[in-house]
């Protein structure tokens, strides 16, 4: 169930223009049909999370096709034009380089890069954030990016916990307790739930959950007794926090907001408003103009 303010939302509250693809529809339906109550401050916030989750899966696909390699921290590598490779295997943004450009370069010149799976997940999250936030805002928020495992930028507000419900676009973790000590980088795999029964893991590609488990099982120590298993935890960025910086929200703020007698709001551009002004003034009780 989705609760917006104190009102239960239904599918009819979401115009088809707000749902851009089947993945977003799946996320929305998962939230709507859930026995768990998902609370949001506005419909825009729901749409933002839906689109952000879609952006996570799209970025995972993009990373896969970028040709970026899997490597442990000893063998990490990056494009020196954008990043400094630190002795501990971290990528530190070079001074003067806009973070948005540096993140895009990982996807553009993937073959120059190599990193392990937790770093891959943080890169996927940054790329998804870049799709959802205006580049100027992104550059301000993530001005001093350092990529190293889950030592993330605090402004992604990442949460690792056991959620009340799993939703496509979540990042999950398959633990490999009996990993071969010669390849500790396979001690577990962070995976993106692609929503179609497939998961993306950096270094493993797209597989079903049994496929991921099987791949990790083959990287166990000789004589291992325990199979890899999916942990209950899920990892998500702070959707609600990031929404305040969203492109779609900023665009919405440039529009004219219309409220009907049920206080349901919708928006349209200033040009459209000017064309239909007379008609609109009859139908809507409140009209708010954008701030100059």
């Amino acid at each position: 169930m989705i609760l917006i303010g104190d009102k239960v939302a239904t599918i009819d509250d979401f115009d088809h223009r707000m749902i851009q693809n089947s993945f977003e529809r799946q996320v929305l339906e998962t939230l709507l049909n859930s026995s768990v109550t998902h609370t949001y401050r506005s419909r825009g916030e729901v749409v933002f999370e839906m689109q952000f989750r879609s952006a996570i899966t799209a970025s995972a696909r993009e990373l896969y096709y970028s040709g970026a390699q899997f490597a442990d921290f000893y063998k990490s590598r990056c494009n020196p034009m954008f990043w400094n490779l630190m002795p501990d295997g971290a990528f530190q943004l070079r001074q003067g380089v806009p973070p948005a450009e540096a993140i895009v370069d990982i996807f553009r010149n993937g073959r120059i890069y190599a990193f392990e799976c937790a770093t891959a997940m943080i890169i996927v999250l940054y790329k998804a954030a870049l799709r959802m936030l205006p580049p100027v805002k992104f550059n301000t928020l993530f001005a001093d990016i350092r990529l190293w495992g889950w030592k993330y930028d605090a402004d992604l507000r990442i949460v690792h916990n056991i959620p009340s419900q799993y939703i496509p676009g979540d990042i999950r973790y398959v633990k490999n307790p009996d990993v071969n000590p010669l390849t500790p980088e396979w001690q577990g795999e962070n995976i993106v739930d692609m929503g179609d029964g497939m998961y993306f893991g950096h270094g493993l590609g797209f597989r079903t959950l049994p496929g991921i488990i099987d791949a990790l099982a083959r990287r166990r120590r000789p004589g291992a007794m325990r199979m890899p298993y999916l942990l209950e935890t899920a990892t998500r960025p702070g959707f609600s926090y990031l929404y305040q910086f969203a492109t779609m929200r900023l665009e919405q703020e440039q529009n004219v907001l219309l409220f009907d007698d049920q206080l349901e709001n919708s928006s349209l551009s200033l040009d459209e408003y000017n064309k239909k002004q007379e008609e609109l003034l009859k139908e809507y009780i409140t009209i708010r103009f954008p701030q100059s």
Binding site: Y74, A118, W150, P177, P181, L182, R218, R219, L231
Partner: protein, 310 residues
Amino acid sequence: MNSSLEMIRKVSGISALKSHFIDLIEQDKKLATSQVNSEEVSFPTLYVLSSSISSNRLTKYLSDRNKVALALRKDILAKERAPASPFPYSICETPQLIHSVLRWIVTTGANENLNSKYRFVLDRSAGLLTTIFHDPTDLPAISQLLFKRHQEGHPTHYLTWAYFSTQNVSSLLPVGERLASHDREEKHFAKELLHFIPGLNESENPYVHFRTWYEENLPYLVLNENSYELTAQLEPYCVDFMMKYKEQPGNSRLHDEEFRSLPAETQKRLSDFSYKLRKYSRSEWNEWLTRPLEAQVQSIEEVNHDTYRR
């Protein structure tokens, strides 16, 4: 007496050692191998000479220690590792030999920093030592290696994982000892590794705080499955609140289900209080334990905690 090869490496450097060894091979292969087989030779020296040894086909004349050490090195540096490929050396048949060689690699090699491949071999050897042999006497050497890596700004991620893979609570001790260090950075890293100890960061005397926490919680610490790759920081052990609360697993099953359903913070408060009351007066504790959980929680709020402080 120090081996001459050791002396040359330490005094004249790696290049001098390599050319001396090649000269030695040309003059007398037997002497060359006997020198490299010397008990006094350390792993860094063997590592530096490894390519000369293999190119001159001297491997078959090496001691068992050196043969195993070079086999380990080769396997660790293998570019492609087929999944589930067996170890190239028989750990099952000669476990003591492999253990002693790994220990030799780590103890004699920890203080050298030849290059990144060398560091990689050292770190992986430490991982093999801890994950296969689980011997607590290896821990001081590996903690030494861990702090050295941190001090020099090199990766500590897998080594930290390897260190705590010993699955032995005593692994906390060599790290805790560093809280008493005069080196600020070392102290800071120890705090980072022990981040899961409540109140450690805020404590004015972190070492004393650690010792007190360790002694109080040692019987109740359990392995935590939480993984390093899942979060930014590893939490290798956690306190079993139920065990700390009841002292013995079989002790009063009255509240088990109810206790587990409490929020973690309440479980912690109850277990801490139970522990302190038990230390203060066992008879009072026995009586307190028979009260309903709700009454126990209420009593914590009512009681002046100072009464039960040791």
